[in-house]
Symmetry: D2
Subunit: 379 residues, 4 copies
């Protein structure tokens, strides 16, 4: 049965790549490369089919989907000719996008957001709608008393204060509409006590944070390698050059800080100590959607001998992210169907900064993920 994906940031690179890609897969124009839920180990009747996904969403921008898709073709993210081949599907998707509602209080804004989602669900007779945040990264949030518990939050939102950042307000709206929520961004999202509590009350699951698509993915296999071999990592220093919409946002040091911190967490978690070095993000407009990262790792082995490795990663961020958005929507929908609520810590595989006290080694996250999917099918 049909499952909705409601995208926050629906006109952005990740969203449009995901939406166009799902249409291309449905049309048989491509193989589902990059979709982990299409691997033999994870395929499951408990997941909604790729072909059963229906897209809608909010965005503060109003660039037409087709125009955005064409710019992604020009950038080499989407294959040539795809917008022509999928003209009807894109037009249909365009009709499901809405401007971000504005109201006098955040409580009222949340009601309008929820109403848009409700309408979407009804229009398409969807079994459920998963709300996925792929909007621009926000700065860290300032503490507010309303963050503590659902009651204080409800009260605070009814004031004219800006209590919640957009990511969290969308999570709030999703929960009140009975929808699962996925945060693919490093923004605050569900990470406030009041929202965690609310999700449990609403009986909905959520997942996050910050999709793991490049340098951190590589770290999550290389750091365990050093650990398993008892090699001591001394320095791990990374530089990420990226352009695109997200790059421009991250050029803002405030947004950047959140991302940078989440990029080194995998090291201390898998090594048990914190090597020297940081992970930098630099905005270079010309680089566009194809990020280039360089990491230098120095390490000590037997009798203290110092050695080193470095790697460069030249990845298309949106092409890496989009299939994971589809995976997450399917997995979260299935979890909801199976009656799960609260944080889906078993989905750490997908995130740089996963919820809960979970392993950061990719293979351990993979084990958790395959166990999770098996569990769904057993239901």
């Amino acid at each position: 049965m049909a499952t909705g994906i409601w995208l926050i940031g629906a006109r952005g690179s990740v969203a449009v790549t995901g939406l166009v890609g799902a249409a291309a897969l449905r049309a048989g124009l491509a193989e589902p490369l990059g979709c982990v839920t299409e691997l033999p180990e994870l395929r499951s009747p408990a997941l909604p089919a790729l072909a059963d996904l229906v897209f809608g969403g909010h965005d503060v921008a109003d660039t037409p989907l087709v125009k955005k898709a064409e710019s992604l073709v020009a950038a080499g993210v989407l294959p040539a000719g795809i917008t022509a081949a999928l003209g009807d599907e894109l037009a249909a998707a365009e009709r499901e996008l809405r401007p971000v509602p504005v109201a006098g209080t955040q409580a009222d804004t949340a009601r309008l957001i929820a109403a848009d989602i409700e309408d979407f669900r009804r229009r398409h007779d969807l079994e459920r709608v998963v709300v996925v945040n792929v909007a621009s990264t926000e700065p860290a949030v300032a503490p507010h008393p309303g963050h503590t518990d659902p009651a204080s939050l409800a009260e605070a939102l009814a004031s004219t204060d800006t209590v919640l950042p957009a990511s969290s307000l969308n999570a709030y709206a999703a929960f009140t509409a009975g929808c699962p929520f996925v945060d693919f961004t490093p923004s605050t999202g569900t990470r406030l006590p009041a929202l965690a509590e609310l999700a449990l009350q609403a009986g909905v699951p959520y997942a996050g944070n910050d999709g793991k698509t490049g340098e951190t993915l590589v770290k999550s296999v290389l750091a365990p390698m050093f650990a398993m071999r008892h090699l001591r990592v001394r320095t791990w220093s990374g530089t990420n050059l990226l352009g695109g919409g997200d790059g421009a946002t991250l050029a803002d040091p405030a947004a950047n800080a959140a991302k940078t911190a989440s990029k080194q967490r995998v090291l201390s978690e898998t090594l048990g100590y914190r090597p020297e070095g940081t992970s930098l993000i630099q905005y270079v407009d010309d680089i566009g959607d194809f990020k280039t990262a360089w990491d230098l790792i120095t390490f000590s082995g037997f009798l203290g001998t110092t050695m080193r490795m470095d790697f460069t990663w030249h990845g298309c961020d949106s092409a890496l992210a989009a299939p994971l958005v589809l995976d997450l929507a399917r997995l979260t929908a299935a979890a909801h169907a199976a009656g799960r609520s609260g944080p889906l810590t078993e989905l750490a595989f997908f995130f740089k900064d996963p919820l809960g006290d979970v392993p950061h080694a990719l293979h351990e996250q993979w084990a958790a993920l395959t166990g999770f999917v098996r569990g769904l099918s057993d239901v």
Copy 2:
């Protein structure tokens, strides 16, 4: 109780680094970095203590140990001052080394090898001796009817034919002396039906082949990463520049071929298909013991988008190999003590070209290894 390590190639870089390193660890001069059996997950009372290892061995060369150790200091493999600090230990070890025996038939040679090992065991009242092959890589062996079964082998060895390459003759001698055997090289070693059968008859375990210390180690975590993310690897092409004794041997295309093949096996085994590209070894005298490898990987993701990564690995081969030799000797000794015989497929973690039909992903090999050690302790 004391356990012997009998090294074939005892005056080579790996052997001397291992022997000096074990002495340095015993003297408290270094931490056991690089020794995986010293990780919390693998420490076990079932393993002989590092301090209880006693070294002896054969070599065709007669370079004094101290001289070889000094050249390893000059090359940056061993720390400055170590030969002075361990003068007595090195002198003692020197007394345990023997020239490779020569006799009219390989049967007689094997008897002399076994006798040297026996003497070593008796001299030091060792509970058991593990024979470890760290001699120069040999060319691939020519087929011979004697390889089929123990009886044909015994008969063939009694002739004046060269039936077995040195690695296999040493395995034969070890088995007839009741000793476990570890082959750290890509040479033939135990990989002949007659020897596999003989090990079972003798009730001794064996492990191999070809220590996994650099590029292949990295492959064994990166290839599974691509697989787990459903990214299709198109090209994986590697260049290995190395000098040192082993580099010179591998400059011989015949020896090189064996190594090169074993270096790509991890890809087809973990990906399920064979990407384009090869792994080259080039001898560059000036590079010495610090190998530099470069690998280029191109891969396709969502909607066919092509991406790439490359890495350089600048590792000290002997410093990476030596602690694994200590690990393998300890693990194989413990397996013998626990009554195991035949191939120790659970030790695939250590090898480029592991025995048996085993996983090649490092994390799966790690799971097998930790299970193996737990099993030993349960005994």
Copy 3:
């Protein structure tokens, strides 16, 4: 006035990129990036204008130009939409291409080649035609007595022997037709005493060999840097991964050898000694026209301290080569107009394996080139 370029290998990647690019420049669709004769330092009224170049040529293949151009678009070498934009120009160029003539003796074949060139010149009323070899790399040639001088050559060609490889037979035909000749390939071309003599007799200039477009270009500035800083290069080891038509040819060790040798020559010539290491070429189909090269350089400085650098070069071979073909045709035509004959050693800037005893440092070659162009204008 109009100048012809007669391409040997006119349906290959370099030829078609050059031909399409010249049309695109004429149509104002692109800037002349990559064309060094369009730099302020080299622009000269003595050179035929880019817009005055007319293309024709021979090829053993019969792939239509448009089809080849489209495959270059798909490969990212030519921009999308270019074949549609230049439909008429490509159709016109197609009409100027001829199959490689075949006759009973090489003398007769040469006459037919010359006749095709003559026809081309007459059809378009060209002031002169420069013959440019961009055909597949040939294996090294076997010595033959006909190579010694023009008279022996004429006699030998009249026999049924295969006296000359295609590259040299084309040079011969060019010279007898009074045309200058450029060899952009590592093939033998003009490098036989008989042909050198013949060019002087015919009063025509020639240039070569082997266009310098990637790794060797970088070497020609980095090697002088080490020399000027009195740093001793110890190892310089390169790996070139390439696909495409040329890659497939070079997978043949015989053709490969010629290229590999010419790639290291720059080192001994600029450093004054030969560092360790080689430059490898490996064919990887998937890499296509975008070559990736990796070079490792180790060097010693003050008090013998060892240091290192490495670089990767990810270049589009045809996009780097094609504008140089246009440059070379213009420069060689102007030299001919100025009455030059014999080897144009001042064009070493363009070649991996330049004619004559010339400097290999790029800046010295640049000085020679600018001097050459100034000389032309002074005439």
Copy 4:
């Protein structure tokens, strides 16, 4: 005849490497690798011999020379055993080092500095003394009216204001003592109108700024390569990881800014435009004296095709810098002997941020340098 080098920052890494290295060369323990004045093209009787250099200097630190030298041995900058071999020379040099004088006004401090230099000259009967600044990088200087001309400066220095940063005060002292001055650092040094004027009045030459030893050196040959080939550089982004004393100073953003700016200047000067990207410096203690830099360069060629190269540079900063300090002292001494005063713009070859409106391409700087040395010999 003997020439003095008075080092500001005489106990730092560059100074001590230079001082020990000069002694080692004099003792015949090493070849003069890294010393460009020992190349055939630059050897000249006009330069004081390496063996005729005598060292003295100031430092705010009091670490004994031998201790510093030993730490440089441990770091792999100086060869093992060198402090033992040069015990007497190091003891003699130690006796020539003085603490930085302090007085109530900067005028008085300058007089004390000059007096120390004078004493040094007299003690060793030196023909002349070249003052070389190799002290820690300073933050940019605040404007002060005293900077305008010698008269205002003299007046201001007599006040209790801090008018000049240390680098400039040392230049002032040098000039008043009739000594040439070399600024190897990115600090202000002579770059104030009053000091430029003063040097002319005193009839002494000076050189600077900021020794070119790594990433910028490579840039100064690669950027001209792109220019000569008419390839448009789009992005040039660099990351420099370094430890050591200088690294710690540069971790201070104020000092860092000066260095970062001077590192990109070569690009705009040789390309004629400013590509995107910046050059970052990051302090990583563990990296020590062996800096690792990574640069990514993207560029457009024929018909706009985008290509890329990257390089890593793993250089020992002090081993690269020290021989240049010796070169600069010899060249500046010879210029002084030849009657030169004011900025030695012909020494741009040595600097990241050269004085005057000079070429930044290394080969043009080399031409200027060789011309300069020839000019000296002609005198």
